[in-house]
Symmetry: C2
Subunit: 274 residues, 2 copies
């Protein structure tokens, strides 16, 4: 079993130093509960609700900026893997909506969101590389970001490449749902897990920002898609922790002779690429 945590915090738009402090506090709380992998929200370095690309770029940091240096220090101090979203300045004209995977060795991978939601396409440059799959001390970890989770093809790629855990920083804007139902975003995460037999952790955020409210629906699932922690709309900052059997993701069997990856018929899926 691997102890996986999601730090559902409220980043402070326009105050990155304060945000780094509250993230550090949440990571320490997760470490105190024994977390081996800690996931942070999308764009937790900066906040989300930028008015335009210039404002995003001004809030962006390079990979060796203060945010990732802090996460690396926390990863070393507590000997854990950190996956978090940050606003990345790579020297280009627009920032990327990125996620980094780090451990005590340093930054292991940087992924740039490929599916930009709503006005993000006016604010960020889109990534064009597949989600990375990184060997860590506790398992093979991949990352995608928020809206990426709504494209099953995109979770398929790291799952086919051997990922055991897909760690997704998200910022889920809240919307209506029937009473008693899990948020649609959570249902999609459960299905992402189910159709690839991969464990998934989505770390959402809380805290109203420029009139945007968030689901606060961070969720940790096992490879069967069952919710181990979270998965309901909330408004309070919290640290979710669950013991996850990452090795279960190595077995793609779904009953009898069935194997959810081997049973694919990719020769018939060409229309999906048209």
């Amino acid at each position: 079993m691997t102890k996986v945590a999601a730090c559902q915090v409220a980043p402070v738009l326009g105050d990155p130093a304060a945000t780094r402090d509250l993230v550090a506090e949440a990571v320490r709380a997760a470490a105190a509960e024994g977390a081996q992998i800690v996931v942070l929200p999308e764009l937790v370095s900066s906040g989300y609700a930028f008015v335009d690309d210039a404002e995003a770029l001004a809030a962006a940091e390079p990979v060796d900026g203060p945010t990732l240096r802090l996460w690396q220090r926390l990863a070393s101090e507590h000997r854990l893997v950190v996956v978090g979203g940050f606003c990345e300045d790579d020297g280009g004209e627009r920032a990327f909506n990125s996620a980094a995977i780090l451990d005590h060795r340093g930054v292991l991978a940087v992924y740039r969101k490929a599916h930009l939601w709503d006005r993000e396409r006016l604010v960020f440059a889109a990534g064009s590389s597949a989600p990375p799959v990184v060997e860590t001390e506790v398992g093979r970890v991949s990352t995608v970001i928020c809206y990426d989770l709504e494209f099953p093809e995109w979770v398929r790629l790291p799952a086919l490449a051997g990922a055991q855990l897909v760690a997704a920083p998200v910022n889920w804007p809240d919307s209506a749902r029937p009473p008693g139902e899990r948020p649609g975003e959570v249902i999609r995460v459960q299905a992402d897990a189910l159709v690839d037999r991969v464990c998934v952790v989505a770390c959402d955020r809380v805290g109203t920002e420029r009139e945007v409210a968030w689901v606060g629906g961070s969720v940790i699932t096992d490879a069967d898609g069952w919710v181990l922690a979270g998965g309901w709309a909330t408004t309070a900052a919290s640290v979710l922790v669950a013991d996850v059997d990452l090795a279960a993701a190595d077995d793609k069997g779904v009953g009898g002779l069935s194997d959810i990856h081997r049973d694919r018929r990719p020769d018939l899926y060409t229309g999906v690429l048209d």
Copy 2:
């Protein structure tokens, strides 16, 4: 709004005439409630739990056999669309696990299950054509069968081709789930609807057959993936009916500038085909 029904019946293995009768009774009950589209379970002509391919072939019928002739008659009498699963004999060495779409004009399409679950691969020949999309009086209807629903690529194809409703005959074998949770099969259906903004109806079955028990989890969802009827495990035969806004599936918008089909990055999905 279109009135969609799922006839969750218990086919009688080894007694096709009795099964045709109980299916006719269920379709009439759906018609009496105003159903315009009626969906029947997978292999409802024959039952499911065949010991081998010879037994399945012996129970199979051609497209102009008594089962589809009955469904066509019912479709004409009640002016509705029927989508149902049947064991198809096309003159080859093995039967197909097929579904037909019919209306008052006759058989509009026959689809053969492409993803064969567990021992089905020992019993049936696999189909190799994409799910059809058929214009009917009430909307554009597609069909896939049971395990097909676990492959998002396969639902993507008819959705990209304009289907408004994916009508899926299923036979869901029951399995354990945490208390209070919807069956995983239902969660996958909800996600199938969500990631393509397509309405989905899955018609399951009940009645123990050769020691196999079934979820009895027939479900009708809207294009937002919300459950309009069913969606919980049950053991009794029943006719589910819901008013479904099929036209909502024509709008792939998922918030602001986002469009769940246009926002795909198929140029990046090539690894999914490797």
